[in-house]
């Protein structure tokens, strides 16, 4: 059994190429995904164990942590839940990806002419089936040990996998989850260096030291649960049909536009004139002033990544 100082090992297994495994993890438990021989990508799905409609979201995670989340970052659930589901507490490589979608049967048939081929969507679906989920429930994966980037023209690329034997990532469950790692099925892509290898999975009971490696995540009103929903039950039929009693209740609608008068000195107006002459900030004085105000406010007060264009 794998040892880890101060930790109790709860489960240890190896997933073979073409397979994955759905694991129940309780809050406070740690999942280690470890290379057996190196250069192997691991795709990963994650669901709230008590409400599968809350699941890991690549988009929000990408927004908050960039294209290559690593140690210290969280795996966030999709809006409107938007809670940290797991925390990455160790990463010995640092080449993870949340840009690429999972590979699929379609992809290999379309690009390679291989109609029956291992692929992460179908591997995930088969592993998740153990818990009653369907192929429609598979979501875009967190791609551990997937070495990617974006070129100067904005096109994503897959680089050579640099993970070595014994490299690993560790995820601390911040809620009870169904964690589903799989050996990426892409053997005709660069993803796993054109060879599929087993991955070792170990579940530990987390320790105080593990929790100490996690920063305090935000707890906000907008991290909603089904109790906040106007429809609280999961739709259980496939057909879409209109609710005749529906009345829209969009937030803060109607948006009321009003004019805010701002008195400017001649010098301040001259600044606006110069900014306007660049053609980058607006066509009118008011547009330039609004642009200046909000971009300044974002830079000075906004929490989280600014997503500002390079200057």
């Amino acid at each position: 059994m794998t040892t880890s100082p101060g930790r109790k090992t709860l489960q240890e297994l190896t997933i073979e190429p073409g397979t994955g495994k759905a694991l129940e993890l309780r809050r406070g438990q740690v999942l280690r995904i470890e290379q057996t021989s190196g250069r192997q990508c691991a795709d990963f799905n994650c669901f709230n164990l008590h409400d599968y409609k809350e699941f890991f979201h690549t988009g929000r995670t990408r927004h908050l942590h960039g294209l290559h989340p690593t140690k210290g970052d969280f795996l966030w659930s999709a809006p409107p839940r938007e809670r940290p589901m797991m925390a990455i507490i160790e990463d010995t490589v640092g080449t993870n990806d949340v840009l690429y979608p999972r590979c699929s049967g379609f992809l290999f048939e379309h690009h390679y002419g291989l109609a029956v081929h291992t692929n992460c969507h179908d591997i995930q679906a088969e592993a998740q089936r153990e818990f009653g989920l369907t192929p429609d429930d598979v979501h875009d994966s967190f791609n551990f040990f997937m070495h990617t980037g974006v070129d100067a023209a904005g096109h994503p690329f897959i680089a050579k996998n640099t993970a070595g034997r014994g490299d690993y990532v560790e995820l601390l469950a911040l809620m009870d989850v169904l964690a589903v790692p799989n050996v990426c099925g892409a053997d005709v892509m660069m993803t796993s260096d054109f060879e599929l290898k087993p991955l070792k999975l170990v579940v530990f009971e987390g320790t105080d030291q593990d929790w100490s490696r996690v920063s305090e995540p935000p707890r906000l009103r907008n991290q909603r649960s089904p109790s906040d929903f106007r429809i609280k039950n999961i739709k259980a039929d496939r057909e879409l049909y209109r609710d005749a009693s529906y009345r829209p209740e969009f937030t803060n609608v109607p948006l009321q536009i009003s004019e805010l008068a701002v008195k400017l000195t001649g010098e301040e107006l001259e600044w606006i004139e110069q900014l306007k002459s660049t053609g980058k900030y607006g066509e009118t004085d008011a547009e330039v002033l609004r642009y200046a105000f909000f971009t300044w406010w974002i830079g000075k007060f906004m929490h989280g990544p600014k997503h500002a264009a390079p200057t």
């Binding site: 803060n252 948006l255 009321q256 536009i257 009003s258 004019e259 805010l260 008068a261 701002v262 008195k263 400017l264 000195t265 001649g266 301040e268 107006l269 001259e270 600044w271 606006i272 004139e273 110069q274 900014l275 660049t278 980058k280 900030y281 004085d285 008011a286 002033l289 609004r290 200046a292 105000f293 909000f294 971009t295 300044w296 406010w297 000075k300 007060f301 390079p310 200057t311």
Partner: protein, 72 residues
């Protein structure tokens, strides 16, 4: 822009005094809420003051960058 053309422009706009010009921002209630929250947090004494502070710092950054030939 010269001071003369500046004054002429303001006169044409019909909304100035010799020392001040009024620019009217079109904002919705959410945008005003953000401004007012900043004031409530003690960042500024008024909407006007906050926005002029923003303009002053934005211009200092972006006009100097433009003057130095940088993209901004």
């Amino acid at each position: 822009m010269s001071l003369a053309s500046h004054d002429a422009r303001l006169k044409h706009a019909g909304m100035t005094t010799m020392t001040e010009t009024t620019v009217r921002l079109r904002l919705n209630q959410q945008q005003l809420e953000l401004i007012d929250n900043s004031i409530e947090a003690g960042e500024s004494g008024s909407r006007d003051e906050l926005i002029r502070w923003a303009l002053r710092e934005f211009a200092a950054t972006h006009l100097s960058a433009a003057a130095n030939g940088k993209k901004s």
